[in-house]
């Protein structure tokens, strides 16, 4: 291509905001300032393997996993309803799904605080019914709830966009060959929607693993996730070296799972990625 110069601004952008910061993170993670000067070290990576930090990672992966499963269980039926004949032309429902995403992420999450607080709306309602107030905030379920609420659209939209593209006559062909609705779903609709499911899982799991805002607000700082840990290392304790090492570990984990996902997606004839 002769016109490759049009890509130069983009290349510059990439170098400035992606390559350089990455190099910096790798540098901070693997070098250390000592009295003798700057030295190569793997100390930060070793430190990660202390049980305390491994636990934080496992907890992050675990909560993200639960969030993804809940999103899938809630999101798939929603996508099917949205893609069904009755709602196909009614964009309003999709619109309602997407509208909350236009609001600020923090605001959305703060809204849950008002709902779940000790004297919040839900507890007021419960005590109105004469039941004892419940501790709804500052536990891991509040964190999972916040994640599901925030990330559900990322599960629904890719699945929906794959479902809506399934040729109606394929479903009719299956019915014609003797398949009842259960078999149509398990043999036709679900297998054909797998690319959407895979990208939905990717799009929910990745941000869920690394979130730190939701866990700070709804978990009240009692549930340290890997995102919070990195944030604190950089902003509070100023341990940039260890923070960078953790970031690198996270990045490798994410790249690794993305690679598995995309391989799986290709086997299923891909497509459908939003």
């Amino acid at each position: 291509m002769k016109k490759s110069w049009v890509a130069y601004p983009y290349v510059v952008w990439m170098i400035m905001f992606i390559v350089v910061p990455l190099m910096l993170i790798i540098f901070y993670g693997t070098f250390e300032r000592t009295p003798q000067g700057i030295e190569f070290t793997l100390e930060h990576f070793k430190r990660f393997f202390e049980p305390l930090y491994v636990m934080v990672l496992i907890r992050s992966l675990y909560l993200a996993l639960i969030c993804t499963i809940v999103c899938l269980l809630l999101g798939y039926p929603v996508s099917m309803i949205l893609a069904s004949k009755e709602y196909r032309d009614k964009r309003i429902l999709i619109f309602l799904m997407v509208i909350p995403m236009w609001m600020n992420f923090l605001l959305r999450t703060y809204a849950w605080l008002t709902l779940l607080e000790k004297n919040g709306i839900i507890n007021t309602f419960i005590s109105f019914l004469g039941l004892p107030k419940m501790e709804l905030l500052y536990n891991q379920w509040a964190v999972v709830l916040g994640m599901v609420y925030n990330f559900l659209p990322f599960m629904v939209l890719p699945i929906y966009s794959v479902l809506i593209k399934i040729d109606k006559s394929i479903i009719e062909a299956a019915e014609d060959l003797g398949a009842n609705s259960r078999i149509v779903f398990s043999k036709i609709i679900f297998p054909l929607s797998l690319p959407g499911v895979v990208s939905g899982i990717t799009m929910v799991y990745m941000p869920a693993v690394t979130t730190f805002v939701i866990s700070r607000l709804l978990g009240g700082g009692q549930f340290l996730l890997i995102g919070n840990l990195i944030e604190e290392l950089f902003l509070k304790s100023g341990e940039w070296g260890f923070g960078s090492a953790l970031s690198i570990i996270m990045m490798i984990l994410i790249l690794f799972s993305m690679a598995i996902m995309s391989k799986y997606e290709k086997e299923n004839e891909g497509g459908g990625l939003l």
Partner: protein
Amino acid sequence: MSYEIINLVDISKTFDDTLVLDNINLYIRRNEFLTLLGPSGCGKTTTLRIIGGFEEPTSGKVLFEGKDITHVPPYKRKVNTVFQRYALFPHMNVEENVAFGLNIKKLSRNVIKEKVKNMLSLVNLGGFEKRPVDSLSGGQQQRVAIARALVNEPEVLLLDEPLGALDLKLRKGMQIELKNIQQKLGITFVYVTHDQEEALTMSDTIVVMNEGHIQQIGTPIDIYNEPKNAFVADFIGESNIVDGIMIEDYVVDFGGYTFRCLDSGFGEKEKVDVVVRPEDIKLVPPDQGMLKGRVLSVIFKGVHYEMMIESNGIIWKVHSTLMEPVDTIVGINIFPDDIHIMKKVKVS
């Protein structure tokens, strides 16, 4: 075993207040090749979908071997369908596609394998078992779709313009292949097409439809030679359709000449449609013709020439193997056998 396998009784269907089928009555005989023929939007596909169970009629009944199946879902019907765009399952290979119906019936694995193999060789796709369906050509996909439907040994096979997406040569080949398969297996075929030639080639019975009504039911020869009204005459083959007046029985006036014909039973001076096939018009020297005309245009069509000949303000389409140059004055003869008189129908 009844003679009639499917009966449509007083079937009407409306979509959003549009009447698509208006009181259709039709019976389909066992083992016949029946074609629903008509222009697009005439209701032929809707009729097929009602038989297949994909649409429920707004009113009326569908009987299968005498039993009412109007509200039976498609997966419980003993009919299978070949869809317009094949509708193969894209995530399965050829073998899995064809075996789909048999797997649902939970036949043993060996039986399934055997049946699939036989069916694939019947449609000339032996050895294609493991191929993914999207690697096949249109004609091959078509044959997979036919095999997938036929392997279930349906009593009736419904085909919705199955050759529509194929090129002309492939179509001709598949038409003969389909007819052979139908005769070999002795299954009732209900075939939907807008291609009159296809219908004439393959069918035992043709049902001509237009605007939700059945226009005529008959054998291909009947439909071609004795079209019931101007629509059928125009749709099947090519025709000259002109206004005429019945003078009395066996005498009709049209185009500025009084012809003898074979039709009777019309009212005196009744206005009628007169249909004459282009190949039935004989060109003779001017002084020997019943009508005189001037050649307006000549088109070479391969086997014959198509000439437009103007006479007394009417333009006749004439097919002849002999060419008359443009502007020649010719005589036109039409013999009683070739004049088809039809009652005027209100065509909207």
